[in-house]
């Protein structure tokens, strides 16, 4: 991808967040889309490209009255929207469309107009994982973690501390689901979900949505909002079965996607002012910091414990690598496919409008996971051209 050739000109979340029992899934997509169009000063007739996951881009286009020349239905789990941004940037550069809308909406808590989680008993997961009692992400995403902890020398306290520090960020965000401070003991005394995971190490289940609008950097300067440029992108996929991931201590999809994005952006880790790592569970930021190359294997827990990713506190200023500054999936919100909210927070940080704004931030990395380490997408944003 050509650096800084495409920009985000519209970005918004659903009007409400958390528990929205009176809006269906498609309604959440539309609410977020209309908010993003208002943000960009656009009407549905101005949009000529659509991308979404969870529902089909056909449903989205028809519902909003859009006649697109570009449709992307890439659906690889919660990072799908990172891939949509990547594909949209390529499509805009190739002239397939000028103004692309990417939407997410999910009735994760209320399940209004939402499908089931069913998987066919003849699929590989249905044959070789489901019969052994996996229920859902809490018993699947967590499977590699005891091996990871043993390999790295990490403890339950290390996992708990990820949640504690993200709650500190959440406290600064009026839209966060949970804002009250928690301690490592609170996390370790919360109900057991699936050893070694306690409830407060697992993400929320909420309703909500978000949408982005991208166009060429050339056009972007004529829009009402400060353009947020796409500096580099990456994507990869590994396996639909967590039991078959190549290395339980490192995600291949993370490594491939992250490296591609950094190479495209032509930046080094020290250039990054702000980082989002999709945190469906407390181990994800640890894997992410290591697999993206911010920390050496075995150093991520110490890096977090030493408050390098934390907000300012009585004992010191903001850490050198502010991470998950919206509170993350652990405390802000998590509808099921959280990647959209990581992108939204990166865009807010680049616009200078975040609730917990990082001063003078110029480069933000949003890194997503799909499925249980099944897929990954990385987007690096910049507010300077």
């Amino acid at each position: 991808m050509k650096q800084n050739s495409v920009a985000v000109v519209g970005a918004a979340e659903t009007t409400r967040m958390g528990k929205i029992p009176d809006v269906s899934v498609i309604g959440l997509h539309a609410d977020a889309a209309l908010n993003a169009m208002k943000d960009a000063g656009l009407k549905p007739s101005d949009i000529d490209g659509v991308a979404t996951a969870g529902i089909s881009p056909v449903e989205l286009a028809h519902y909003l009255g859009i006649t697109p020349t570009y449709a992307d239905g890439t659906s690889v789990g919660g990072c799908s929207f990172m891939l949509h941004v990547r594909h949209a940037a390529a499509a805009i550069n190739a002239g397939l469309a000028n103004t692309i809308l990417i939407t997410h909406g999910e009735s994760g808590r209320s399940r209004v107009g939402a499908g089931g989680f069913g998987r066919s008993a003849s699929s590989l997961m249905g044959q070789f994982e489901m019969p052994f009692g996996v229920t859902s992400p809490p018993t699947m995403f967590t499977i590699p973690v005891l091996r990871y902890m043993k390999s790295r020398g990490y403890t339950e306290q290390d996992l708990a501390n990820v949640a504690v520090i993200q709650r500190e960020w959440a406290a600064l965000n009026p839209r966060s689901s949970f804002k009250d401070p928690i301690t490592v003991d609170d996390v370790l005394n919360s109900p057991m979900i699936a050893w070694p995971f306690r409830m407060l190490m697992c993400c929320l289940v909420t309703d909500g949505g978000g949408a982005l609008i991208l166009t060429s950097a050339e056009r972007a300067k004529d829009f009402p909002q400060k353009p947020v440029y796409v500096l580099g992108t990456g994507e990869s996929v590994e396996t639909p079965m967590v039991s078959q991931m190549e290395d339980f201590t490192s995600s291949k999809a993370f490594r491939v996607s992250g490296k591609k994005a950094f190479d495209e952006a032509g930046i080094s880790h020290s250039d990054v002012d702000h980082l989002m790592i999709y945190d469906a569970f407390a181990h994800l930021p640890l894997y992410g910091l290591e697999d993206l190359g911010f920390c050496k294997p075995g150093e991520a827990a110490g890096f977090i414990n030493e408050r390098n990713t934390a907000p300012a506190s009585a004992s010191g200023g903001v850490g050198k690598l502010p991470l998950n500054t919206n509170g993350g999936g652990l405390s802000y919100m998590h509808s099921g496919m959280y990647g959209m909210y990581a992108l939204q927070e990166s865009v807010r940080q680049m616009r200078g409008t975040a609730a917990a704004q990082i001063k003078d931030a110029k480069i933000s990395v949003a890194h997503g996971v799909g499925g249980m380490f099944a897929a990954s997408g990385t987007v690096i944003f910049s507010n300077e051209k």
Binding site: A121, S122, Q127, F128, P131, F132, Y148, S243
Partner: protein
């Protein structure tokens, strides 16, 4: 509530037939000798279609696991392990560790385990694992 059971496909039938007959059957490539799982009609390492089914030792070690405390009615009411074992032949597979307490103390990573088939229906037996004897 009956346990959720696999529905074999043409590419996996040999595996489930093996479980029914008390054999853990893996596949290996006759070109590059790579052993692999889950079953498929070609080698995922080199792409060769020249592969064979063979009887594995059924031995391995506990690679990673969780102990599920969430409701899963077909698995009973008590917390249960959901584990991944690494087989002597190399591949890893998901399973349950049975024949020992379902506690972190009893379930030590790297402990040797051996396969134990548990009949579910006339067609399906599941490959579970228990701590190796002796």
């Amino acid at each position: 509530m009956p346990r959720m059971l696999p529905e074999p496909t043409p590419e996996t039938r040999h595996f489930w037939e093996g479980c029914k007959d008390g054999e853990l059957r893996l596949q290996r490539c006759t070109d590059c000798t790579h052993s692999y799982f889950p079953p498929r009609a070609f080698c995922p390492k080199c792409g060769s279609r020249d592969i064979e089914v063979y009887k594995a030792s059924g031995k391995g070690f506990l690679y990673s696991y969780v102990i599920n405390h969430r409701p899963r009615p077909d698995m009973g009411t008590e917390p249960h392990s959901i584990a991944v074992v690494e087989l002597e032949e190399g591949p890893r597979m998901m399973t349950n560790i049975v024949g020992c307490p379902q506690t972190p103390e009893a379930l030590q990573l790297d402990m040797p385990v051996q396969v134990k088939f548990e009949k579910q229906t006339d067609d399906i037996s599941l490959p579970l694992f228990e701590p190796a004897k002796g």
